[in-house]
């Protein structure tokens, strides 16, 4: 089905209904394979078995950043191309992105506890991800505060674009701030060279996470379209009740 056809919400709903079971099944398969490979992955000579946390930590981090990139494209879709589904996609992606970013933070903190001796260290990477998490929450708060989806969509799109421009600057600043304060003695998460015996399970888990995101995003978009339909029907109902015109 050409992508242009999906611009029509009703057709998108039909597509989502048909695609979702397949996507869910595929996600399950990918997770089964990924987890299986994870079990077989060798321990790191330095970090021992805790390296297993990486198989969920790193995919969540990639997804956390990737979903913001997706929201940025959707924001362009809202502001520039005025695609009718762009802000639906952006709104549906935000909570999922926030959840994966949170997962990245929590697993990072659980990984850091045995390595650093503290649940939280103001490590440059973790801190940047924390700022990303705050920005996700900000966008979600914006969506929640404004009732009219068209208006909220434009505001959220602008915020998303500003965030996309600012995130590299934030990353750079946090790196600089961090090296200023502490010499690079902290053990970096995910070392520079990754052995294939670890890389392959990592890629498998990443594929599983991406498929999971696609399924969740599709379902959330479907919900959002239905929510807007409910909203417009409610407005119609108010208009047909007595005393609507004055």
């Amino acid at each position: 089905m050409p992508i242009i056809d999906l611009a029509n919400p009703t057709r998108f709903l039909r597509f989502a209904e048909r695609a979702l079971p397949w996507l869910a099944g595929l996600t399950l398969l990918a997770f089964a394979a990924g987890l299986n490979l994870t079990l077989g992955a060798p321990d790191d000579y330095q970090q021992g078995a805790t390296v297993k946390i990486m198989f969920i930590h790193v995919p969540s981090a990639w997804l956390g950043m990737g979903i913001w990139a997706l929201m940025t494209i959707a924001a362009l879709g809202t502001l520039v191309w005025r695609h009718p589904l762009a802000d639906v996609a952006a709104k549906a992606a935000a909570p999922v992105g926030a959840a994966f970013t949170l997962l990245c933070l929590v697993t990072g903190s659980l990984w850091g506890r045995p390595m650093w001796g503290a649940y939280w260290v103001w490590d440059a990477r973790l801190t940047s991800v924390l700022v990303l998490f705050l920005m996700y929450l900000g966008v979600m708060a914006l969506w929640r505060t404004v009732d009219d989806p068209a208006r909220a969509g434009r505001a959220a799109a602008i915020l998303t674009l500003v965030g996309a421009i600012n995130l590299p600057i934030i990353k750079f600043s946090v790196d600089w701030w961090n090296t200023l304060h502490q010499p690079a003695s902290v053990l970096r998460l995910a070392g520079p060279s990754i052995h294939p015996s670890i890389l392959i399970p990592l890629l498998a888990m990443t594929l599983a996470f991406v498929l999971l995101f696609l399924a969740l995003h599709l379902a959330a978009m479907r919900n959002e379209i239905l929510r807007r339909r409910v909203r417009s029907l409610m407005m119609m109902q108010a208009q047909t009740a007595p005393g609507s015109g004055s």
Partner: protein, 222 residues
């Protein structure tokens, strides 16, 4: 009593349904706590030492900023007028509103505090102690803020004016809140002494705040 219960339920319901309630307060709290290390530096020992102070300042700012809308929204849509024609005393009505406000904005801050303590290198016990002092102290912040909310509504000026009016009044709460947290962390004072004073301050604020706010509303209405 049912009238006050209805008011309480309505305010809680509004806070849950409309964005900008407790969720935003907690988010603000989180951001303030996150910003602190950027200014101070990621020195865990230092952060652990001043952690209770950071948490208390964050909670204070967060609870004051959410107070802005406590009475202003009801004034803008005329609800405040109608409340004056109700049969329950205005003191109890504003107290019910403040209580609902604390439940939806103050309590989430208390719950979030131990979690944010992790960022500041506080162990679970100390975080718990800070949360306990916040539980005892945030009602005082809400009820002191209630005075400011009532004054700013009658003067028809909101936002920063409210914070400026209210912040000096919160000094004692801040002093004893942080003192109690520090006593639990490092001593040398026993935890009980400042904590008892903090509880007393809260009780006084509830009484004074309620009556002052009701008086301000009665005299300021036009």
């Amino acid at each position: 009593m049912t009238a006050l219960a209805a008011l309480f339920v309505r305010d809680v319901r509004l806070a849950i349904r409309v964005g900008g309630g407790g969720g935003i307060g907690v988010l603000f709290f989180l951001i303030v706590v996150t910003l602190m290390p950027f200014a101070i530096g990621p020195d865990l020992a230092l952060l652990g030492r001043i952690g209770p102070a950071i948490l208390w300042l964050g909670a204070l700012l967060a609870s004051l900023l959410t107070l802005d809308r406590l009475l202003a929204m009801d004034q803008e849509d005329g609800s405040l007028d109608l409340m004056l024609t109700g049969r329950s005393p205005l003191e109890l009505a504003v107290a019910a509103k403040a209580l609902a406000h604390w439940l939806t904005t103050g309590l989430p801050l208390v719950i979030a505090a131990p979690l944010l303590g992790l960022f500041l290198n506080l162990d679970l016990g100390s975080s718990g102690a800070v949360a306990l002092t916040l539980l005892a102290g945030t009602p005082a912040l809400t009820f002191i803020g209630l005075i400011g909310a009532a004054l700013s509504v009658t003067l028809r000026r909101g936002g920063l004016l409210l914070a400026v009016l209210v912040m000096p009044l919160t000094v004692p709460v801040l002093i004893f809140g942080v003192a109690a947290s520090n006593a639990a962390l490092v001593g040398p004072l026993p935890f009980g002494t400042p904590f008892t004073i903090l509880c007393a301050l809260t009780l006084i604020s509830i009484v004074v705040g309620t009556f002052a706010a009701a008086t301000a509303l009665r005299h300021g209405m036009e």
